[in-house]
């Protein structure tokens, strides 16, 4: 039955089919069973807890379920029982002795029960007294069975008989006054007396209430009059007060000192107007405001004089001043006052009672907020600007070490090559740049000085210098055995006859003349002729003359073929059309090196221009990278 009711209700309210509702209904109880089984307890709100209980005696069902109803359910049920009193079980199914009946009927304190009780009791007592009186005559000769039958009949007749008949019998039979009935009458009388006393007390209280009401009306009238006065005084301007004080001064003829008079006249309206404002501002917020504005001395004064006297601690703890928030305990040296503003919701009454101090506090907080924000912006801008400046200042270094490391390695390797040719013992020299070639001049000079002694030309002679016979040996690419060969040739030269030397000089002069033709007369700044070729210090390359007489740019030298090819590719992207090749050189103790060479140029000027173009494009790429880094950074 209940299942159908609940299913109908669920399907009606939630627009579900009866099948779905039934499934939900079953699932609820199966869920409870599952919960009890798995967790040994299932707590259902407003109903109770189903807990597993272990039975030691029963082997089949070791576990049983105990239901602990909620208090609300028990109370509800008990209340329901009281309302429907008497309970069905408490109604006597069989006739009981008179004393028991009286006990059950007298006890309930509920008024309707008390009112009904006398009638019922009278009926029952009268009927049972009659029965007992009749029975007393006949009981002697009756068996127990007969007695039971008779009693049953009597009860049945009592149930069937209408109340009128019972009343008639009650009237016929002489009333038997029992002690219980007497007690009942006494109680009723007592109740009546107490009710009369209560009514008297109520009348007295009403009269007192009327008096108090009258007094309250008088007080309200007085308060209104005071308020009107206060408003009048507050509406008057300072000039009015000034004129009033002047008048008083004149009237008293300097007998009375004016300042106390002014205070006495001015202060009352202020006191009457401000109180709601004082309650609005918590003392912690005012202290903070004074700290922000710099009036530290004022905080102590205000603490001592104004706010501690006006605001009690209870007010501080119960509200935030607006009557909306809950907590507004403001500690010093923190921004809790700001939170107080945020928490407080806008209220029309607050705006009406907003004081000048409140406005000041609001402005102070706004200013503090603005200053803090401004400080953050300024610091971030300064940091950013300083980073940009640092980057700009160190851009050459950044370029050198991060964006074109190839040049460094290149030059370092070139330097190693030269050092291997010129001074084998200077391997520890790690200076990394083509400029280091200049620093190595003294070493070369030393070697050339020796060569000069043997009639040879200095290897670091400028390009424009006239060709010398032994120059070709120094111009050729450096080898490990270069120096040894030179020394050998020097020695051989010393041994050879002068004619041969002259012939050789003629041959050398002829080849130099050819080279001079191919190189052309140029005034290239920063280009010096060395044993390796023409070293361009400005563009950090070496111009090497090929066997065909053309010039090529030796841009770098690498320890692997792959690196050299990579460099050639990168240069190819910078200057499309510039072809490069790798030249493998075995330097003996120094290992094998791969020289990256670019293009073939008829003259040295062309090679120089191409190298300059290469370097300028690389610089442009670097600046573009720097700008992009700064822009996006």
């Amino acid at each position: 039955m209940i299942k159908q009711e609940i299913i109908e209700k669920i399907s009606k309210y939630f627009k579900l089919t009866s099948f779905e509702a039934e499934k939900i209904y079953d699932d609820i109880f199966s869920g409870i069973i599952k919960g009890v089984k798995e967790e040994n307890i299932a707590d259902v709100t407003n109903l109770g807890e189903f807990i597993i209980k272990y039975n030691s005696g029963d082997d089949k069902n070791k576990k049983t379920v105990e239901f602990l109803p909620t208090l609300s359910l028990e109370e509800e049920i008990n209340q329901h029982v009281f309302e429907n009193n008497p309970l069905p079980e408490q109604q006597p199914k069989e006739p009981e002795p008179v004393q028991n009946v009286v006990q059950t009927t007298v006890i309930p304190p509920v008024p309707p029960v008390i009112q009904k009780a006398p009638e019922i009791i009278n009926e029952e007592i009268s009927s049972k007294d009659n029965i007992s009186a009749v029975n007393s005559e006949t009981d002697k000769h009756m068996n127990v069975e007969d007695e039971i039958k008779r009693k049953r009949d009597e009860i049945l007749s009592k149930m069937i008989k209408p109340k009128d008949e019972l009343k008639s019998t009650e009237n016929n039979v002489t009333p038997v006054v029992s002690p219980i009935a007497a007690m009942k009458d006494e109680k009723i009388e007592n109740i009546n007396k107490s009710s009369a006393d209560l009514t008297n007390n109520a009348d007295e209280l009403n009269s007192e209430a009327e008096k108090l009401r009258l007094q309250a009306e008088e007080l309200t009238n007085k308060a209104e009059a005071l308020k009107k006065k206060a408003n009048e005084l507050s509406s008057t301007s300072f000039s009015d007060y000034f004129t009033e004080t002047q008048k008083t001064q004149k009237s008293f003829n300097t007998t009375v000192t004016p300042p106390p008079v002014i205070e006495s006249t001015v202060i009352p309206p202020v006191v009457t107007v401000i109180p709601p404002v004082e309650t609005v501002i918590p003392p912690g917020a005012v202290e903070l405001h004074n700290q922000i504005t710099g009036d530290i001395n004022k905080t102590n004064e205000s603490q001592n004089n104004e706010y501690q006297t006006t605001i009690s601690q209870g007010q501080v703890l119960n509200g935030n001043g607006n009557g909306n928030g809950n907590q507004y305990e403001h500690k010093l040296n923190d921004n809790s006052y700001y939170i107080w503003y945020k928490d407080s919701e806008p209220n029309a009454s607050d705006t009406q009672t907003m004081s000048y101090e409140y406005e000041l506090l609001y402005q102070a907080t706004k200013d503090a907020e603005y200053k803090s924000k401004l400080r953050i912006y300024v610091t971030t801008f300064i940091i950013f600007f300083s980073i940009v400046l640092i980057l700009l200042i160190f851009s050459p270094v950044i370029y050198k070490y991060f964006f074109s490391p190839s040049d460094d390695t290149n030059t370092e390797q070139v330097q190693n090559e030269t050092s291997s040719t010129d001074d084998p013992q200077s391997n520890d020299n790690n200076q990394a740049s083509v400029n280091s070639l200049d620093e190595q001049k003294p070493a070369n000079n030393n070697s050339t000085a020796q060569q000069q002694n043997t009639g040879q030309e200095n290897s670091t002679k400028p390009v424009n210098s006239p060709p010398v016979t032994d120059e070709n040996k120094n111009e050729q690419p450096a080898d490990v055995q270069g120096n040894q060969n030179n020394n050998k040739t020097d020695k051989s030269n010393n041994v050879e006859p002068k004619q041969q030397v002259e012939a050789k000089n003629q041959q050398q002069s002829s080849t130099d003349a050819n080279q001079q033709k191919s190189a052309g007369s140029h005034n290239l700044t920063g280009v010096q002729k060395t044993s390796m070729g023409w070293v361009d210090v400005q563009n950090k390359v070496i111009y090497v003359q090929l066997e065909s007489g053309k010039f090529t740019i030796q841009e770098s030298a690498w320890d692997s073929d792959a690196k050299a090819n990579k460099r050639i590719n990168s240069v190819g992207t910078l200057i499309p059309g510039l072809k490069g090749n790798v030249q493998k050189v075995d330097l003996g103790g120094k290992g094998t090196w791969y020289r990256a060479r670019f293009g073939e140029f008829a003259t040295l000027d062309e090679a120089y221009n191409k190298a300059a173009e290469l370097r300028s494009r690389e610089k442009n790429r670097l600046t573009a990278l720097l700008f992009s880094f700064l822009m996006y950074g």
Binding site: I2, K3, E5, I6, K9, I10, Y13, F14, E20, K23, I24, Y25, D26, D27, I28, F29, G31, I32, I33, K34, G35, V36, K37, E38, E39, I41, A42, D43, V44, T45, N46, L47, G48, F50, I52, K60, N61, K62, K63, T64, V65, E66, F67, P69, L73, E74, E76, I77, N78, H80, V81, F82, L87, P88, E89, Q90, I107, P108, P109
Partner: protein, 89 residues
């Protein structure tokens, strides 16, 4: 297991919102209580029987005048299916 677990389970199994499931459970409990108050006994198939065990009223404080308090208690007798389910491994 609590009511929240039961509600969540219902919501997941029947694809309804937790609010609806909560409403359904509350309706069930409400109806059950009303029926129990009215009839004094509620029988739920495959679950058990809720009934009110009535006790004599008595005073719970030693006073001159006895203060009546009904001590009726809600009793639950689990169904056979329930007991079998619990005792099964």
């Amino acid at each position: 297991m609590t009511t929240i677990d039961l509600i969540n389970k219902l919501a997941v199994e029947h694809n309804i919102t937790t609010g609806r499931a909560e409403m359904i459970v509350s309706i069930l409990v409400e109806r059950l209580t009303e029926k129990l108050k009215k009839d004094g006994e509620v029988v739920i198939n495959n679950f058990g029987t809720f009934s009110i065990r009535k006790k004599e009223s008595g005073s719970f404080l030693k006073m001159d005048e006895s203060l009546l308090m009904a001590k009726n208690k809600v009793v639950f007798l689990p169904d056979k299916y329930f007991l079998e389910n619990i005792n099964s491994v």
